[in-house]
Assembly symmetry: C2
Homo-oligomer: 440 residues x 2
């Protein structure tokens, strides 16, 4: 067993972590996974408490998705999507078009970052076509994260992801002091008018040169599962419309019921100009991302080829048929499993269980939750270095795969996770915190 | 049938083309695909003459890959790869490490663009760590294409892909007048010393601030299947080493026998500092890309977490198990099918057949070829607008999916394509050219 892990460390540069940490705490050796449970080669199970980076919303090995993949595999896997099509992707695009009133044109990629790049590029390119050539700037929110490719990284505020590459990134402004909330009962959730004037002032300063503002609607994932006011999103949509600035909603993490509704934007009853989806789109089974936009945008690019308005962005696997089959099956699985209903129950269970830990340990503060996400900051009473990391490692040893972001601990499990598994997750998390947050 | 295509056009924004063209020439409606043949819903077949954008090197529905996918599907599809691993990806990374003498560390993504971004970012980040903070510039070759995300686009010379986004891209210099060749018998292939001084002068001007030079080794795909001197690649490697500048080889198109050898770099017997692979890596079955680098680079980032040297770049589906299973099966399939041998035969067949067309029609010039790629420019004797596009559409109607790049026509079929299918491809291409290149 150790031998396999040594072989891993010899040849694999894992994503999003310091490899020296993996030498100290070797990667878990996975054999299989079903539902919310991952089984290691030695038979030990761990709960996938964060849905494998927030993508396995229906858990591992969902039978409806497996069946769809097997059926597609018997037909074809992938055909260049430049000038071909097929029934499954037509049906998927129709489902995607039904998510919002008017975002009816779908551009497909694989990595989530690429969906964000497509939105940013379409916005900027549209300005070239309309002659608004001064509109070349992007704006994003403080604590934002939108991906790790050039432009996606440029609109990400988190320093660890962008600072080493600053020399090759365009200048982007970040909106400060946004109205964070604890949950939907927070007065700011419904009304952030007290904070709006200061926000509007920042916005107005940039208005003339902005082409688009990009947001993770309501929940900022990599920023530490920070939740902000629904009313702020309403106001931002109104302001961007008034100032002819595109609003890009990066729902790669929040989409498909993670926040309780099909889209996070639905809480605010707003529609962006561009909507980016990924992760839960295929239940994290295969890489597939999509950027949706309106006919208003699409029509700007639609012209005789010679006019030079073509959006040439492409990826080899745009429209991959296996990924598409998985995504189409997900739409069915969300209905069959009645996920919209389940996430309502889950929302209450998650916050109840985390509050039990807070009460029992006294080491949780700033508790926040929305839909299938609950988070809190660890109280670092003894100034322990890398406390979040240590708590995470302790939980893994005890059977739950959590990955605190800094000292922010969170759960974002499969939306159909069993109640009994959540009780285990509570106990494991509680023990991990008790073990690591004090000095004995 | 028409109805499905209308539904497609209502909701799908296809990659890499003007949608108005697709309204005029509706997308082919695909039902299934096997080997080099794609079957449409109405039963008509088309030859996949360009391997679905150069990725299906073993053809569609390869049984070894299908079996591997079915087996992996029974275990698990994808588990967050941050701190987990599994046997198949360890075995794949070992196979990848064997491709070159010292590029033994693999970072995985899905889209090819992301593999390029990883290489560019690692190079730049390494300079921050070593304190060479003046090295912030990238250089690329004229006619280069490396992808459509921010940094990948910045190092792409082709205007249609980058000009609308110029305002948000870093400045990149492009090396001009590189020694293009017709084939391996071209004297320049072995010796470009006559052109080197002028090239070296351009390089020397940039040397102080460069962190990396990125190239598509030997064949520039989207640039129009342009082939350049092996000796130039040898000299460029030598020059970059002497000047402490990283060489990034983007073998996303050329890798895995497309140019006749396992890697295009093998023709020049050189090793880059970063190697990007994709497309043929999974035989175009699933999106998977990888960036390989050396321990020398890896070790720069390897330190205590607190030192702030972590490479945080990550994608949700990094290490996707289904894509990995497909890639591992490909290594086996390449051996079982004896592709290295087959491509030698294919190389001669392709050029022979294209030369037959040239002789018969008189409408082909600048014929060039390497391994499983053969290309030529259409002679536009009657100044026909969008001649290449028209020839492509004509070929599709007659049963071959080709997609000329501008007026450059090329074949890059599955490397195991049947000889009889190539004869059909010759006849179809020949008829398409005869029909479109003259005015009747």
């Amino acid at each position: 067993m150790i031998k396999l892990q040594e072989r891993d460390l010899k040849h694999i540069w894992h994503p999003c972590g310091q490899m020296k940490d993996l030498a100290a705490n070797p990667p878990l050796l996975i054999k299989s996974a079903r539902g919310a449970l991952i089984t290691q080669e030695d038979g030990r199970q761990v709960i996938d408490a964060i849905s494998s980076w927030w993508c396995k919303s229906l858990g591992h090995g969902h039978p409806l998705i497996t069946q769809a993949l097997q059926a597609q595999l018997a037909q074809f896997e992938h055909v260049m999507f430049g000038n071909t099509t097929y029934t499954a992707i037509i049906e998927l695009s129709e489902k995607l078009a039904q998510l919002t009133p008017s975002l009816c044109k779908a551009s497909f990629a694989s990595d989530g970052s690429c969906a964000v790049e497509i939105a940013l590029k379409m916005s900027l390119h549209a300005r070239q076509i309309t002659g608004e050539t001064q509109r070349t700037k992007f704006m994003a929110l403080e604590n934002s994260y939108h991906g790790d490719t050039g432009l996606a990284m440029a609109v990400s505020d988190l320093g660890i992801y962008r600072l080493p590459y600053q020399a090759v990134l365009p200048n982007v402004s970040f909106l400060k002091n946004i109205p964070y909330v604890a949950n939907k009962l927070d007065p700011l959730w419904h009304d952030c008018s007290s904070m709006w004037p200061a926000l509007e002032q920042q916005l107005n300063q940039q208005a003339a040169n902005l082409t688009a503002i990009i947001v993770e609607p309501l929940v900022q994932g990599a920023g530490g599962m920070l939740i902000y006011s629904k009313d702020f999103l309403v106001r931002l949509r109104k302001w961007t419309t008034q100032h002819n600035i595109h609003l890009i909603a990066d729902e790669i993490m929040t989409g498909f019921y993670r926040t309780g509704l099909k889209l996070a934007c639905d809480h605010a009853m707003i529609e962006p100009d561009f909507l980016c989806l990924g992760k839960g789109l295929t239940n994290g089974v295969l890489p597939l991302s999509v950027t949706l936009t309106s006919n208003a945008i699409y029509d700007l690019f639609y012209d005789d080829f010679e006019k030079g308005k073509t959006f040439f962005h492409s990826h080899t696997h745009s429209g991959n048929a296996l990924a598409t089959a998985a995504a189409l099956a997900c739409f069915n699985a969300f209905d069959v499993e009645n996920i919209e209903q389940k996430v309502q129950t889950l929302e209450f269970t998650l916050i109840e269980l985390l509050q039990q830990i807070a009460t029992e340990t006294g080491y949780l503060t700033n508790i926040r939750h929305l839909g299938g996400i609950v988070a809190a900051d660890l109280v670092n009473a003894f100034d322990i270095s890398r406390l979040g990391y240590l708590v995470g490692q302790e939980a893994i040893k005890r059977g739950a795969l959590i990955r605190p972001i800094g000292n922010s601990l969170y759960w974002a499990p499969p939306l159909n996770i069993e109640y009994e598994t959540l009780l285990q997750l509570r106990d494991i998390t509680c023990d991990a915190i008790k073990t690591r947050c004090c000095v004995s």
